[in-house]
């Protein structure tokens, strides 16, 4: 296929049917868009050509200023343009602002017109009409006090809309309604009385506004997810319905509450009232810091807005910066729900940084973003709280008091209100972790840092290695009792999810210890409900999801070593682990408390966190294993070999590599070769841990085979099922340098053959290994594995390149043969060792790369992609994980593979895989510009490595445009399905769905007989039938060479491609596929003029007086069966598309 997308207009036609098949169900719109994107002229970057006059004209002062500004304030001009573009996208247009303002004026008037009511007891709610329910759980119900409705004393717009930092979509305008003083009484701060009045106030308001046809929808929600503080959502009627949501927050009149009563050490919810019992026995009332904060927040709404508007108004860059930070938070799902790091918090943080002069008002938005991230990355607010309060009044509480009550401390200017009160320590650590990653990304000066930082969503399932769901959350109520969280429940007003979250995460963090890098929890989404309904219960918040970011080095151990038995810490250790803790004596003589987990294989060791979590939750919080759904190893089954029971192949791969190491030692020590062996390098995927199914040792049962006595080899028998597939593993063997080699390519090949023969002889003589030599390689049987040793001569590619010009000058020109040889003997060993290195660094690499390869092959697209290219894409996930951290589990690696494949702009950018970190920023920039200049000559998919900076050698032979496009489409469809299955384990479908290929797009299906598919048992869905493959399970002495590389489906495919390669494409899954998909090429079905070289399977017909050639489909379909006699079960022609 043509390598250049620009020149491939003709070939794109081939793609049409494939696309049609794949996206048949999609809406027309998306198809149209794809068609647009595919037109070759647009959507492809061209090298810029500027005339000399344009380049060297005198600069204007304006231009100079802009250039200077870019240099000073932004990282590069591209970044500046991108930031400007993004701000344009998220900011609100003036036109819309006007419409919103008009709406707000109307809202104001209508609110003021709501009639008052007469005074009633708080518990007497009969005056409320039937159509509205109080948006609050009134537990306990009895509260003293009276309520009456009066129109608000003041209606003010607060929040981001006023500051100009609100971002699209979902524009919210916060409006504060100051309740008149007459409604409130003394001591309203006590026992939720203020909140009850607030709720009733909203209920009455809602009931009246809902009758007004001016509003499209009126419903309740919670302010920041806090269930004591409902708010009213108003939306305009008609076409503006999606334009804006106005949120009404009732708040007390200024100075109504005395801040000193609401300090974190004070109690405002009496136990006697809350628990309905006397508190004689208890030593005193527990403080209610969260309750106090929620009251305080309402009093400070306006003051905060004033502060923010003065600070943010002082420089345009600050507002931009806040908008960027909001986008940043939102992409990381950090800003939603109770305890989220909301836009308000980040604005306050910017204000704090301005006040401490870390941010200057002249800074650009990008610099504000950078400084804030820098601050977040380096400051731990859980230890060192910060305060905006400038006055040093001794009556104010100290920061330490706040640290006692809250995990994260950030005080506002009053010194009494902790704006981060609801933020949990885990959330803050997650923010900090994200900031650190982002800073590293910004510092690396990567070209696409903007895209990765602000444009890439980081959903939990793709960001964390393992995920666990707790369901139903009502179990947490029992957990609260078990954990003795009575006072916390009182503080949280009965919200057991929030009350239990902190202690649970601390517990798990403690238990996971060195295995854990970061633990994050989902924040329940803020509910929204109709005014005629009761507010949703806590148990309706759905699933509590925890994300674990694992530390690969901690996963290797099965032992949790505790303190020595006589140490005082031992008791705490025993308390943590309960019955799992046992005394053990270690090799150094110490007797220690220890916990040992059962895990035999790497895959099971990766899942130790699961054992830890379920044990701790059951032991401490009474949450049974059935309520914990741990998502970590669901995909492991897909890379588990047919005979493996526990592991996912890592052990088998390691066994092969050990055997290979032994062999290479033997080769180094060989005596009697004319030249000694200087290097032995593996090139087979097994030797870089990326073979999907590692080979198992083969001990053939001789009776199952024919024997060739002379060559000591076995040959399959036609009357038996196909024997087991034994793939020889290629190893390149370099010899020491010598001047004795002939200087002619043909002669070199003969000498190499002589070396192969000699090698076989010596290995048999000196080490008793069974060997078989051919002209190009020697197969060596060792411990049941077969290695294919290829002797290489370093100068041979050079010899193949040499050409003598007529003047006798020797020039070097690349030829296909020299390139191939160089690739196989030079580049491939380098790549293999580099990827081997990646595996040593990141233990999850093997699993992720194999899952990725497995998936591509399961989609029948495996032959389009070389092994190496897929391995490199997988390596890119580990070497360039931005904006994530490197995956520590195959599952998340695979998800990111799908994401990378489906979103990467293969047309306009090369995938640079910086193996061994050999490339610096300049190198990469050079490679990118070289790529642009040479785009049309490069293959469709371009992967550059430090060893291969220009040619992308591993993708030279494919994929074609169509195959790559198909992969992109499939990946984009598979990703959401798989993520949904992982996030909602109770939903329909199973995890293998995305591994089953769509077959309805193929024109012909060739069904194969499993009897002659040697790798039949590797299929995605384990087949029912199994055949004897002529192997023993126990080691036997091996005297005869097993059948090597005999795979009938592959041989069949090779024949099909040779015969019909220009009429059709053939698709097959080498891992146990039972079907070959055939797709006719529409271009070759066009009648063609008579041509001797283009006859292949066609016949001549007369067409409108012209002689034309068309494929002879009936005969070809019969040929499919003839060529694959014995293997082919049926040939199904499924479409009539070929009927020309």
């Amino acid at each position: 296929m043509g390598p250049a997308p620009a020149g491939a207009a003709g070939e794109l036609e081939v793609m049409e049917p494939m696309l049609e098949g794949a996206v048949k169900k999609k809406k027309k719109v998306s198809l149209k868009r794809r068609v647009e994107a595919r037109s070759p002229a647009e959507g492809l970057l061209q090298p810029v050509k500027l005339s000399r006059a344009e380049l060297y004209k005198e600069p204007t002062s304006e231009e100079l200023n802009r250039l200077r500004e870019t240099e000073n304030l932004f990282h590069s001009s591209l970044l500046r343009l991108q930031v400007e573009e993004l701000l344009k996208e998220v900011s609100l247009s003036e036109k819309k602002k006007e419409r919103i303002d008009a709406f707000l004026r109307e809202v104001n008037q209508r609110i003021l017109r709501v009639p008052s009511t007469s005074e009633t007891e708080l518990t007497d709610q009969a005056w409320l009409p039937a159509g509205v329910r109080v948006p609050l759980h009134q537990v306990p119900y009895t509260v003293k006090g009276c309520f009456r409705f009066l129109p608000p004393a003041q209606v003010t717009v607060v929040g981001s809309y006023l500051l100009g930092t609100c971002i699209r979509p979902d524009i919210n305008v916060d409006v504060a309604l100051t309740m008149p003083r007459e409604i409130l009484q003394d001591k309203d701060g006590l026992n939720q009385r203020y909140f009850r009045k607030r709720a009733l106030y909203l209920a009455h308001l809602a009931q009246h506004l809902a009758q007004d046809p001016f509003f499209g929808s009126v419903c309740f929600s919670y302010s920041n997810g806090c269930h004591l503080k409902p708010l009213l959502l108003l939306r305009p009627h008609g076409k503006d319905e999606r334009l804006v949501t106005v949120r009404l927050h009732p708040c007390p009149p200024p100075d109504f509450f005395r801040p000193c009563r609401l300090l974190p050490t004070k109690n405002n919810v009496r136990s006697a009232w809350y628990r309905g019992q006397s508190t004689d026995g208890s030593p005193g009332e527990p403080p209610t810091p969260h309750y106090n904060t929620w009251v305080l927040q309402d009093t400070a709404l306006e003051a905060h807005v004033q502060l923010l508007s003065t600070v943010l108004g002082s420089g345009p860059g600050l507002k931009d910066g806040v908008a960027l930070l909001k986008v940043w938070l939102r992409q990381r799902e950090l800003d939603q729900g109770l305890g989220g790091f909301s836009g308000f918090l980040i604005s306050m943080l910017v204000a704090f940084l301005v006040s401490t002069r870390k941010i200057h008002t002249t800074m650009s938005g990008y610099q504000v973003l950078r400084s804030t991230l820098q601050f977040l990355a380096t400051t731990d607010l859980t230890v060192n709280g910060i305060s905006l309060c400038l006055n040093s009044d001794p009556s104010l509480p100290a920061l330490a008091d706040f640290h006692q009550a809250f995990p994260v401390v950030f005080l506002d200017f009053s010194g009494c209100l902790n704006v981060c009160a609801d933020v949990t320590a885990s959330t803050y650590h997650q923010v900090q972790h994200e900031a650190q990653l982002s800073m590293a990304l910004l510092d690396s000066q990567a070209e696409d840092s903007f895209q990765l930082l602000l444009m890439t969503p980081k959903p939990m399932v793709r960001a964390f290695d393992h995920i666990l769901h707790l369901r139903p959350v009502s179990r947490l109520q029992a957990a609260c009792h078990r954990l003795k969280l009575g006072p916390e429940l009182q503080d949280y007003g009965g919200d057991y999810v929030s009350a239990a979250l902190g202690p649970l995460t601390t517990l798990l963090e403690q238990g996971l210890g060195s295995r854990l890098h970061l633990l994050a929890h989902s924040r329940p989404s803020v509910p929204k409900w109709e005014i005629s309904q009761d507010p949703p219960k806590h148990k309706d918040t759905g699933v509590l999801t925890l994300g674990l970011l694992l530390r690969p080095e901690g996963l290797a151990s099965v032992l949790e070593m505790g303190p020595e038995a006589d140490q005082p810490e031992a008791a705490a250790f025993r308390k943590l682990w309960g019955p799992r803790s046992e005394l053990r004596r270690f090799q150094d003589g110490a007797i220690r408390e220890a916990v040992v987990w059962e895990a035999a294989s790497v895959a099971q060791k990766r899942l130790i966190p699961r054992q830890v979590v379920t044990h701790l939750l059951a032991h401490h919080a009474d949450i049974p294993e059935t309520c914990v759904h741990y998502v970590g190893g669901f995909l492991d089954a897909l890379i588990q070999g047919p005979k493996e029971t526990s592991g996912t192949g890592e052990e088998a791969l390691a066994a092969v590599v050990r055997c290979y190491d032994d062999l290479s030692r033997l080769l180094w020590g060989l005596e009697g070769l004319p030249l000694t062996v200087s290097a032995v390098q593996g090139v087979h995927p097994v030797l870089r841990y990326t073979e999907v199914f590692p080979p198992t040792p083969a001990w053939p049962a001789y009776s199952y085979y024919e024997r060739l006595r002379k060559q000591a080899s076995l040959v399959p028998r036609p009357d038996k099922p196909c024997p087991a597939y034994v793939e020889p593993m290629t190893v390149v063997c370099h010899l020491e340098g010598s001047g004795q080699w002939p200087q002619e390519a043909e002669a070199v090949r003969r000498v190499r053959a002589a070396f192969q023969l000699r090698l076989a002889e010596i290995l048999t003589q000196q080490h008793g290994l069974q060997c078989r030599a051919t002209a190009t390689h020697t197969d060596v049987l060792k411990d049941g594995f077969v290695f294919r040793v290829c002797v290489a001569y370093q100068r041979e590619p050079q010899l193949l390149r040499e050409m003598r010009s007529p003047e006798g000058m020797i020039t070097l020109r690349d030829t296909p043969a020299s390139l191939r040889l160089e690739r196989d003997t030079k580049q491939l060993p380098l790549l293999t060792s580099a990827l081997h290195g990646v595996q040593q660094q990141h233990p999850a690499f093997s699993g992720a790369a194999r899952l990725a390869k497995r998936w591509v092959r399961a989609q029948l697209l495996g032959e389009g992609f070389s092994d190496e290219s897929l391995d490199l894409v997988a390596a890119a996930l580990f070497l360039h994980p931005e904006p994530f951290s490197p995956p520590s589990s195959p599952q998340v690696g695979f998800l990111r593979f799908l994401h990378l494949v489906s979103t990467f702009d293969w047309k306009n950018s090369p995938l640079v895989v910086n193996l061994n970190n050999e490339l610096n920023v300049e190198d990469q920039a050079e490679m990118r510009s070289g790529f642009l200049a040479a785009r049309t000559r490069l293959p469709v998919m371009v992967i550059f490595t430090p060893q291969d900076r220009k040619s992308s050698m591993w993708t030279q032979d494919g994929p074609s445009v169509q195959i790559l496009q198909q992969l992109v489409v499939l990946a984009a469809e598979a990703l959401p399905i798989l993520e949904k299955q992982l996030l909602d384990p109770w939903g329909p479908g199973d995890i293998r769905t995305v591994f089953r290929p769509p077959l309805d797009m193929y024109d012909v299906l060739i069904r194969l007989s499993p009897r002659h598919i040697p790798r039949h048992r590797q299929a995605v869905d384990l087949p029912a039938a199994s055949f004897c493959r002529g192997l023993f399970t126990e080691p036997r002495p091996s005297l005869l060479m097993p059948v090597l590389g005999y795979d009938p489906p592959q041989l069949y495919l090779a024949q099909l491609r040779a015969a019909f390669g220009d009429l059709a494409l053939f698709f097959y899954d080498q891992h146990g596929g039972e079907v070959i998909g055939v797709l006719w090429k529409p271009s070759s079905f066009q009648p063609q003029p008579f041509k001797a070289s283009g006859m292949k399977g066609r016949m001549a017909v007369s067409r409108g007086g012209e002689l034309a050639m068309v494929p002879h489909v009936e005969a070809i379909l019969e040929d499919f069966a003839v060529l694959g006699e014995g293997l082919v079960q049926a040939v199904e022609a499924r479409s009539e598309r070929w009927a020309v």
Binding site: P742, F1090, S1093, M1095, K1096, L1107
Partner: protein, 336 residues
């Protein structure tokens, strides 16, 4: 699909218009006329006269003309098509297209004139032996040569080694069948068919049986390999020795102008005559010159450096703008 056989009359006996003249040839824009290999693809229809009564084409290494005025069913004078099937069981059949092998006057061919049949569209399961058996009914066959595509060079194949040049997997092929007598060709052109490739008496292996026998064949005898390598290397050593002897002989002998060639023998010649070496020398010269040059010394140099920097920035800016335009088109600025 309707099956209509080829309908061209191959006019050799009648009077075709003369082959295109050079001027005509240029007019059609087809390069030079005595199209050697590489200029004209085999079998391509190169020119159609205005009257559309005759087509000239390059086929089988010769100019042929096709008369388009007579279209008829397959017959003795048209491009004959012989149906061929794998066995009785198959319903549809492929067609072998055959004609007498002929070359342009003056061109040489390894295959004898008159006695050679040129066959197109030979199915992949049809072997040499098979083709020879199928056509032996027309006369005794001397040899059969199968090729992946019509090759003009017609050079006698070097004896290829089964160890070093493994045979490629066959697709559809073309064949040159040499009969012992010219009558065979005539008989073959009139053959009706359908021919059966695999019969009871001569079964042809396909599928699993074929792969197993191929696997058995691929397990080679190392001794035979050793013997072949030894023979080759002996010949090679002898050739090298002869060359050296000749070079030695020429050494010190002045040529007709009186020049004496002096060569340094040994592993390293003084300066290898390679492109890389000459490039290295050039590079060294360039560096030497660059060292002598002064940078930012004169005021104009300074000015130019600044301007150059500005131009670089401008170029980068343009590039960035283009990139941004593309991103905008791809809707890359919708954050969520």
């Amino acid at each position: 699909m309707t099956r209509t056989a080829c309908t061209h009359t191959h006019s050799t006996s009648q009077h075709p218009p003369p082959p295109p003249t050079y001027a005509k040839w240029k007019e059609w824009g087809c390069g030079h006329r005595d199209g050697t290999k590489g200029d004209i693809e085999e079998g391509s229809l190169v020119a159609q006269l205005a009257s559309a009564s005759c087509v000239w084409w390059w086929w089988g290494g010769a100019w042929c003309s096709l008369n388009l005025t007579h279209r008829c069913r397959p017959g003795p004078t048209s491009l004959p098509a012989i149906p061929v099937k794998f066995s009785e069981k198959q319903q549809a059949s492929h067609y072998l297209y055959v004609r007498e092998h002929s070359v342009r006057e003056g061109a040489t061919s390894t295959w004898p004139q008159k006695r050679t049949l040129f066959v197109l569209n030979v199915p992949p399961y049809c072997t040499k032996e098979c083709l020879s058996r199928l056509l032996s009914c027309c006369g005794s066959v001397q040899s059969v040569e199968l090729q992946a595509k019509p090759d003009l060079a017609e050079s006698p194949k070097e004896p290829s080694s089964k160890f070093f040049d493994p045979k490629p997997i066959p697709g559809f092929q073309v064949a040159h069948v040499v009969f012992q007598k010219p009558g065979g060709v005539v008989a073959a052109l009139a053959l009706k068919g359908p021919l059966l490739i695999s019969t009871e008496s001569h079964p042809v292996k396909t599928g699993v049986h074929k792969w197993i026998s191929e696997y058995a064949d691929s397990v080679l005898d190392p001794e035979a390999l050793r013997a072949e390598v030894d023979t080759f290397m002996e010949a090679y050593d002898q050739k090298m020795a002869e060359e050296e002897a000749q070079a030695k002989e020429e050494e010190g002998v002045p040529d007709e102008e009186g020049w004496v060639k002096v060569t340094r023998r040994g592993r390293r010649s003084a300066l290898p005559r390679t492109e890389a070496a000459s490039l290295r020398v050039l590079e060294r010269e360039k560096r030497k010159r660059a060292r002598k040059e002064l940078l930012n010394f004169y005021a104009w140099q300074h000015r130019e450096t600044k301007m150059e920097h500005l131009a670089q920035l401008r170029k980068k800016f343009e590039e960035d703008k283009q990139r941004l335009e593309l991103m905008r088109a791809q809707r890359k600025f919708r954050p969520y």
